[in-house]
C-alpha cells in the first residue's frame, strides 16, 4: 500500500500540469455544487423562519366568563400539535392597536367602547406548522362553542407551503443533476489523464505489472485529487461567501438575511463526497479504458 501511495504522489508530481488541471476541475465542480448547497441551506433557513411565524388567532364571543376562558385554554392546549396558547384580552389588543396606529390613534379615541374581542394566540409545534396540519387544528378550535371566529392566513399559508415544496423539489433535482454532472466531469478528466498516460500503462503491462499494480496508484491519485479539489472548492466558496456576506450584512440588518456558511458537518460531507466522486470517476474511467 505504501508503495502505491509513493507512486501515486510521484505520479502527481511527474504529471504536475495534468494533476493541477484535474484538481482545479474538481474544485470548480465542488464550488458549483456547494454554492448551490449554501444557497439552498440559507433559503431553507429563511423558509423555516417564516414557517415558525405561523399562528392561529381564535376570537371569543362577547361576554365569555373568566371561568370559561380557563376551560377554552385547556381544551385548545389539549389539541395535538399545539405548542402554546396565550390569552390576549380586548384591552391589551386595543393598546397594541393604538401603539401600531401611532399617528392615527386619535381615530380610536372617538370610539365609545372597545370594539375588539378577547382572543387566544395559538402557536404550533414545529412538526405541525404545515398548511394541512394548521388547517386541521384551526377547524377543531373553530368548532368550540365560545369561539366566534378564527384567523390564520389560510390562503397565504397554503401558497407559501406549495412554493416551499416546489422549491425543495427543485433543490433536490438540481442538486442531483449537479452531482451527476460532477461525476461525469471528473470521470472524463481522469479518463483524459489516463489517456495521456496510456503509453506508460502499456509499458507497465509489458514489464509484467499486474492490473492491481497499475490501477492502485490511479485510485490513490484520484482520492488525493478529490480531497484537494474538494478542499479547494470549499475554501474558494468560503472566501466568496465572506466577501459577499460582508457586503450584504452592511446593506441589510434584518434577521431574515442572517446568512450563514455551511456547517462543519456539511462541508466535511461535501469533501467526503468529493473523495467518493474522485474514486467513482476513476473507477468508471479505468473500467472503460483499461480493458484487458
Amino acid at each position: 500500500m505504501s508503495t502505491y501511495y509513493h507512486r501515486a504522489v510521484q505520479d502527481i508530481r511527474d504529471n504536475g500540469f495534468l494533476s493541477s488541471v484535474t484538481i482545479i476541475t474538481i474544485a470548480l465542480s465542488i464550488l458549483i455544487v456547494s454554492a448551490f448547497a449554501l444557497f439552498f441551506t440559507n433559503a431553507n433557513n429563511v423558509m423555516n423562519y417564516w414557517e415558525k411565524g405561523v399562528k392561529i388567532m381564535a376570537y371569543l364571543k362577547p361576554g365569555t366568563s373568566q371561568k370559561n376562558l380557563h376551560d377554552i385554554k385547556r381544551n385548545i392546549q389539549e389539541i395535538y400539535g399545539v405548542q402554546d396558547v396565550n390569552f390576549i384580552s380586548k384591552e391589551e389588543a386595543f393598546k397594541k392597536l393604538k401603539k401600531q396606529m401611532k399617528r392615527q390613534s386619535s381615530i380610536l379615541m372617538n370610539l365609545n367602547e372597545n370594539p375588539l374581542p378577547d382572543a387566544f394566540e395559538i402557536r404550533m409545534t414545529t412538526s405541525s406548522q404545515r398548511s394541512e396540519k394548521v388547517e386541521e387544528i384551526a377547524t377543531k378550535i373553530e368548532s368550540m362553542p365560545l369561539i366566534e371566529d378564527i384567523e390564520y392566513g389560510q390562503k397565504w399559508l397554503e401558497q407559501f407551503t406549495n412554493i416551499f415544496d416546489l422549491f425543495r423539489l427543485a433543490g433536490y433535482t438540481i442538486g442531483g443533476i449537479f452531482f451527476i454532472a460532477t461525476v461525469f466531469i471528473m470521470a472524463n478528466t481522469i479518463r483524459l489523464a489516463i489517456y495521456m498516460r496510456r503509453e506508460e500503462i502499456e509499458i507497465m503491462r509489458l514489464v509484467g505489472a499486474s492490473e492491481k499494480f497499475i490501477k492502485g496508484p490511479f485510485y490513490i491519485e484520484s482520492i488525493i485529487q478529490g480531497t484537494l479539489g474538494g478542499m479547494g472548492g470549499i475554501v474558494a466558496l468560503f472566501i466568496t461567501f465572506k466577501l459577499i456576506s460582508s457586503t450584504v450584512e452592511n446593506s441589510f440588518k434584518y434577521e431574515l438575511l442572517d446568512i450563514k456558511f455551511l456547517s462543519p458537518e456539511f462541508y466535511c460531507g461535501i469533501i467526503l463526497c468529493s473523495i467518493f466522486v474522485g474514486w467513482l470517476g476513476c473507477y468508471i474511467s479505468l473500467k472503460q479504458f483499461l480493458k484487458t
Partner: protein, 227 residues
C-alpha cells in the same frame, strides 16, 4: 541435459497461425526453443518477425494453434494473470519504450516494484544493473535527454533486472551506430552466458554474423529452416 546445459524446451509453438482480417501474417509456425538457446529470427520488413515475438508474450492472441511458454499454455491464461507470463520475459523494443517522464532508475526499478520487491533491494539491484550496462552515471536522467545507445542500454537494463527466463529483442540495434550495437550485443551475450534464453528478431546480417546462434528465417509469414 547436453554439454552440462539444460536443453529441455522453454517455448513450443504448434501450428500457429496469425491473421489480420484476410491477411496472413504467420502461417503454420511450429517451433521448439530450448532453454539457454540464442536464436535469431531474420527476414525482411513485414515478414512477421515482430508479430511472432508479440504472440509469445501475449501482446496479441494467436488466430490458430497453441503456444507453451515455460510450461504455461497461453490460450489458458486469463487477462488478470497475464503478468505472470510477462515476468518470464525481458522485452527489448526497437523504440526502447521507456517512460519519458520517469528517470532511468524509475524505469528500470518498475520491473522489480511490479513484482513486489523491497525498496532497499531495488535500489541496490538497479544500481548494479545500470553499472553492468555502463550508464550508472545517467541514473537520474530522463530518457529524452539520453542518446539512442544510452536509451537502448537502459531498456536492456530493464529487460534483465528482473532476471527473466527469456529475453525477446525486437530489432534491438536497428537505430544504433555499430559501437552501440556491439555494446547491446555483448549485454545479450552476457545474459545468455548466465543461462538465459535469447530470441532476437532482426534483419541486421552483421549482428547475426557476430553473435552466432541458431537462425530462423521468416518470409511472408512462413518459417524456414526451423532447426
Amino acid at each position: 541435459m547436453v554439454d552440462g546445459k539444460d536443453k529441455s524446451s522453454i517455448i513450443q509453438m504448434f501450428h500457429v497461425h496469425k491473421y489480420y482480417g484476410s491477411k496472413k501474417a504467420l502461417v503454420d509456425i511450429t517451433l521448439n526453443v530450448s532453454k539457454n538457446e540464442f536464436i535469431f529470427i531474420s527476414g525482411p520488413s513485414g515478414a512477421g518477425k515482430s508479430t511472432l515475438l508479440r504472440l509469445l508474450y501475449l501482446g496479441e492472441p494467436v488466430s490458430e494453434g497453441q503456444i507453451l511458454v515455460d510450461g504455461m499454455n497461453l490460450s489458458r491464461i486469463s487477462g488478470k494473470k497475464i503478468h505472470f507470463l510477462r515476468r518470464k520475459f525481458g522485452i527489448i523494443f526497437q523504440d526502447y519504450k521507456l517512460i519519458p517522464t520517469k528517470t532511468v532508475f524509475d524505469n528500470v526499478a518498475l520491473v522489480l516494484e511490479a513484482s513486489g520487491k523491497k525498496r532497499k533491494f531495488i535500489e541496490k539491484k538497479v544500481r548494479s544493473v545500470l553499472r553492468t550496462v555502463g550508464i550508472e552515471q545517467k541514473i537520474n536522467a530522463l530518457p529524452p535527454s539520453l542518446s539512442g545507445g544510452e536509451q537502448q542500454r537502459a531498456a536492456v537494463a530493464r529487460a534483465v533486472v528482473g532476471i527473466p527466463r527469456i529475453i525477446l529483442a525486437d530489432e534491438p540495434t536497428g537505430s544504433l551506430d555499430s559501437d552501440s550495437a556491439d555494446i547491446i550485443l555483448n549485454l545479450l551475450k552476457n545474459f545468455h552466458a548466465h543461462g538465459g534464453t535469447v530470441i532476437v528478431a532482426t534483419h541486421d546480417k552483421e549482428l547475426i554474423r557476430k553473435a552466432g546462434g541458431r537462425i530462423l528465417h521468416l518470409k511472408q509469414g512462413y518459417l524456414h529452416f526451423p532447426g
